[in-house]
């Protein structure tokens, strides 16, 4: 770990301004991912701006009947919120499927969206990794890739976004609210928030330098039955091989997003429309153009079968 300086921000715009002005600075909230990465020198910020005092820790109703989740709301609190459990069950289910109780107590909503990939080559600083060290190459391509991406990946990087919470948020059409150093606010649809790697895999999201997440908003509830099917070798405390977040209505229509397969929660709206035709139709469309490796080709049939399980439960 490199030596770093640390300050606790008192004001969001000021915090954003500081980080925007220093390429070596980073925000820190729960720190559950960043600190590990710093210890391994995968991340090497020399200045940390701690945002935990900024008060973004509430869950409030929005005027249009949705929810506004403060960026600092912990995973534990979000999953346990009565409104979330009642109206956005897929979100609670996704959150509690992730990490461990201890980590969820510490992890923040914004930090969870920003967690970095778990590709083992990203984690080993002896290995080439375009995401960790731009231009160094990708050791994962041609290497051990069982956990890695099957779609939306590139010749520069085949890593996945590893989270669960964001997959549910994708199905719920969440939006990410931010503020920048100039006080400018914007709302980013989650569909556009995580980038596909292309030739710049070192950049995970569309956030500009210093742009600070203040909240995540959920539109008004859409009803239906909510599912989060997470498939993993170990029953707990493991990243998804494939996960399925779905909201399925009584008439068989609905929405579905997949985790563990791509640089972002993977949802193809045109595939949603095929839900009444069954799992195979949906995944054929959602994974059109997939480029799996020999190690992870199983993720394609697995996605179909996991979705079939969800559909069967919805019908039951």
């Amino acid at each position: 770990m490199r030596a770093f300086t640390y300050e606790r921000a008192k004001d969001a715009v000021e915090a954003a301004r500081i980080v925007a002005g220093r390429p070596d600075a980073k925000f820190i909230a729960g720190g559950t991912n960043l600190l590990d990465l710093m210890k391994l020198e995968i991340e090497t910020p020399t200045h940390l701006v701690d945002v935990q005092d900024l008060g973004f820790d509430k869950i409030e109703k929005t005027r249009d009947g949705g929810l506004r989740i403060g960026a600092l709301v912990t995973n534990t609190d979000l999953a346990a919120d009565e409104r979330v459990r009642r109206d956005y069950g897929v979100l609670t289910r996704a959150i509690v499927a992730g990490a461990s109780g201890q980590l969820r107590n510490k992890a923040s909503t914004a930090g969870n969206l920003l967690q970095r990939t778990r590709c083992p080559y990203f984690y080993d600083t002896n290995m080439a990794c375009n995401k960790r060290k731009p231009g160094s190459g990708c050791a994962a391509i041609g290497g051990y890739s069982r956990q890695l991406g099957v779609i939306g990946v590139s010749n520069a990087c085949i890593a996945t976004f590893p989270g669960d919470m964001a997959v549910a948020m994708r199905v719920l059409d969440a939006a990410i609210e931010t503020v920048d150093g100039g006080g400018q606010k914007r709302s980013i649809p989650i569909a556009e928030f995580h980038r596909l790697w292309g030739d710049r895999p070192e950049i995970d999201t569309v956030l500009k330098p210093g742009e600070l997440i203040t909240a995540v908003t959920l539109p008004r509830p859409i009803g239906g039955r909510h599912f989060y099917e997470k498939v993993r070798d170990r029953a707990s405390y493991a990243y998804a091989l494939v996960s399925v977040a779905a909201v399925i209505q009584r008439d068989g229509t609905g929405r579905v997003a997949f985790g563990g397969v791509a640089p972002r929660p993977w949802r193809v709206e045109a595939a949603d429309a095929l839900l009444p035709q069954g799992a195979a139709a949906v995944t054929a469309r959602a994974f059109q153009g997939a480029t799996p490796t020999r190690d992870n080709a199983f993720k394609l049939p697995l996605a179909t079968r996991a979705l079939a399980s969800v559909i069967a439960q919805a019908k039951a």
């Binding site: 029953a235 707990s236 399980s309």
Partner: protein, 738 residues
């Protein structure tokens, strides 16, 4: 004490203290954080901190190391490399040296140690060590390397001219003639010990004398190999390892933390604390080597096995050894015509070595699937097939009987308790919602090893009994069972015994490994207690031959006195060791069991979750049923890991294990493990040792993965012969989804 004839009645048979469930006497210390593990000893003044730099290449040479930046970093006191360390030897138990340079033997082999004022400074400076490597081509692909790998081991012996293959009868003829047979190949992957406590040491020099607090299962091996590596006399080293946070064989041997802490402390002229960083644990240390196994079984229609062959291939560093996955097949089942052999390939992956139940664990993973396959072909119940082929003698040397063997009882009692009769013989028949449900069985088998073990027992003037031995407690319960043993022998409660372990200042014990620790170490304590009893009885004027030690008193020949009074004139010290010679030649010592498992396989995703587990064990006298049970359920858990998830993924381009942390090398968590039931048969093996006890710490691991694999097959009808049984290996062969 020489143990050459079977034990007769002795004080342990009273079973007033031994054999009773006794909570760990070290439990409160551990749960309150007061048991100092290797990194935690506080008595060391002014320690500096070390951080290891591991090799970035698997094979090659170090052209140069640039230390300028690192030396200039804040707090740095010293940097040790092979170039500065002086001449170093290699430990007898180490295949590969522990500090690379100029030659690099494997990935993450230590190339430097940075010593600094604080841990954080050492870690930061370690990242500034610039190493220039000349990368060499290495051998990293086991399947490829086995194509030209030579046979190894076997009884034929060097110079005999015969190939190193063990043969009894005429296997090929018998197999060809067998009316029912199976011939299948099985694979097991490389496994990591993944113990909770990392390798850790604190080294402090006083002149030419070194004190090392470390985490090591075998004090005397560690001390000897440290002396050999540093080139100093063994008696200049004091090695202490009173608490070990798990080892599983990974800490049987001297490792880099100990050597580098010693070198770092010498260079910095300060005590040095050093814990190996978790991401380096896998590739720096030893691992259980992967195997490629072929098993052929031939049987009569009634299930009698007539031909049995087990061949295994594994790889290791040059001058390393094979994973002895065929060993149990030499002993477990009858059969007149037998063949076992091993091949050993040269690999430049990290050094392979012992991990819990080496040989038997991967060997049983294969053999017990093979038995299930044979049973199915015979249309025979797999429990019945195993019973049919039980043997009370070593099948290769029928004149050698097992000292005690109750495999059949384990199987029958287990079957009855588990409800085995409800198992559907036809696979893929039982459904519970989305779950395909199946049951599996496997035998458990692990040899019991007799080893010399010493101890010293003191009776203080204050009446306190203190046991001193270099035996280690690696989470197994050694403290407690030793207290129970001394308590039984001297007629006092276990709570009244002070147990001091894990120091080279104490008599050399069997140590913790190969499931030999409990039985041999307590037998050594028994021997020392016999000496102490003689002295105590004499002091009290009682004939030692007839003296009875009970309730804090010694009595015999009409006389009686307080045990405490025996030491009123001065401390009494009894020291002895248990030694074995002849009985091993007459008898085969082994432990047995039966594993029963019920699993559910998700019909959609192919994920397997265990629903029930039962182990019935026959392992001689159980010294402490709660710590023994803890050993067996831990081993069953480890077996579940090897069945369902554990695998070190090899990058065949770079020659390293890719998933080298605890996030990516998955071991079971609580949610993976259901109710585990353990039953011990009431046994006492008087031929084993005066305790009449045998090992149990590894038995629970042997066979459990096979039982799980057989249960998965019973659930799905799809046979997987390639561990771990991850979903992709049967996903597309599962019944179609609606």
């Amino acid at each position: 004490m020489q143990f050459d004839t079977p034990a007769t009645t002795n004080p342990i048979d009273r079973m007033k203290v031994v054999g009773r469930p006794h909570e760990r006497i070290d439990g409160p210390l551990k749960t309150t954080g007061q048991a100092p593990y290797a990194y935690e000893h506080r008595a060391i003044a002014n320690p500096a901190y070390g951080y290891i730099v591991g090799s970035a290449v698997a094979k090659g040479t170090i052209r140069s190391i640039n230390l300028d930046e690192a030396r200039g970093a804040p707090g740095v006191l010293s940097i040790v490399t092979a170039a500065t360390a002086g001449k170093l030897g290699k430990g007898q138990m180490n295949t590969v040296k522990l500090l690379a340079g100029p030659q690099v033997d494997h990935y993450h082999q230590a190339v430097a140690l940075v010593v600094a004022e604080t841990f954080e400074q050492a870690r930061a400076a370690a990242a500034l060590v610039r190493v220039d490597y000349a990368r060499a081509t290495g051998s990293y692909d086991l399947d490829e390397a086995l194509k030209s790998a030579p046979l190894t081991g076997g009884d034929s012996g060097e110079g005999s001219g015969a190939p190193p293959v063990d043969r009894t009868g005429k296997f090929e003829d018998a197999f060809a003639a067998a009316p029912v047979k199976i011939d299948a190949e099985y694979t097991t992957p490389d496994h990591s010990h993944a113990m909770m406590e990392p390798f850790a040491s604190i080294a402090a020099w006083n002149g030419d004398e070194l004190t090392l607090w470390t985490s090591n299962q075998m004090i005397d091996w560690g001390r000897g190999d440290l002396a050999k590596t540093l080139g100093i006399p063994k008696d200049k080293i004091t090695l202490m390892s009173p608490y070990v946070g798990g080892g599983f064989g990974g800490k049987l041997f001297l490792r880099a933390d100990a050597v580098l802490a010693a070198l770092g402390a010498k260079a910095a002229k300060r005590p040095v604390k050093l814990a190996m960083q978790r991401p380096m644990m896998v590739n720096n240390a030893t691992h259980r080597p992967a195997t490629r196994q072929r098993i052929r079984l031939g049987a009569q229609p009634d299930g009698t096995i007539t031909a049995i062959a087990h061949e295994s291939g594994s790889g290791d560093q040059p001058n390393g050894g094979p994973e002895a996955a065929v060993n149990q097949t030499k002993l477990l089942y009858a059969g007149a015509n037998r063949l076992t052999s091993m091949r050993l390939a040269v690999l430049n992956l990290p050094e392979g070595n012992a991990m819990r139940a080496p040989g038997e664990a991967p060997g049983m993973m294969a053999l017990e699937i093979a038995m299930d396959e044979l049973a199915e072909k015979l249309r025979m119940d797999p429990v019945a097939l195993r019973i049919k082929n039980d043997t009370q003698v070593d099948p290769e040397k029928p004149e050698r009987r097992f000292s005690q063997r109750q495999l059949v009882r384990c199987l029958t009692e287990g079957a009855q308790r588990f409800g085995w009769s409800r198992r559907s013989a036809t696979p893929g028949q039982v459904r519970d919602g989305k779950w395909l449900v199946g049951m599996g069985v496997a035998a458990a088998f692990r040899n019991h090893v007799n080893r010399t073990s010493g101890a010293r027992v003191r009776l203080g003037q204050d009446g306190v009994v203190t046991v001193e031995t270099d035996m280690t407690d690696i989470g197994t319960g050694s403290y407690t069972i030793i207290a129970q043993t001394a308590g039984e022998m001297l007629g006092v409660p276990a709570e009244a015994v002070v147990v001091k372990l894990g120091s080279s200042a104490f008599p050399v014990s069997a140590g913790s490994g190969g499931q030999w620790g409990a039985a041999n170490a307590t037998a050594g304590v028994y021997a020392a207690c016999v000496k102490l009893r003689e002295q105590a009885a004499q002091r009290l004027g009682i004939d030692p031959a007839t003296a009875d030690f009970a309730d804090g008193r010694v009595s015999g020949g009409g006389k009686s006195g307080d045990l405490r009074a025996a030491a009123s004139g001065g401390e009494l010290v009894g020291e002895d060791k248990i030694e074995f010679d002849k009985l091993d030649k007459t008898y085969q010592f082994a432990t047995f069991g039966a594993h029963f498992v019920e699993v559910g396989v998700d019909a959609y995703t192919g994920i397997t979750r265990i629903r029930r587990m039962l182990a019935v064990c026959a392992a001689g006298r159980i010294i402490n049923p709660v710590s023994a049970r803890s050993q067996v359920i831990g081993a069953m858990t480890m077996g579940a890991g090897s069945a369902l998830m554990e695998e070190l993924a090899v990058d065949k381009r770079f020659g390293m294990f890719v998933n080298h942390d605890l996030a990516s090398y998955e071991v079971p968590v609580h949610a993976d493990i259901p109710q585990q039931e353990v039953v011990f048969l009431d046994e006492a093996d008087e031929k084993a040792n005066p305790m009449k006890a045998k090992g149990v710490g590894e038995l629970g691991m042997c066979g459990v993965a096979g039982a799980i694999a057989n249960a998965v097959y019973n659930a799905t009808g799809v046979r997987i012969r390639d561990y771990p049984l991850t979903l992709e290996k049967h996903l597309e062969r599962l019944p179609p989804i609606v």
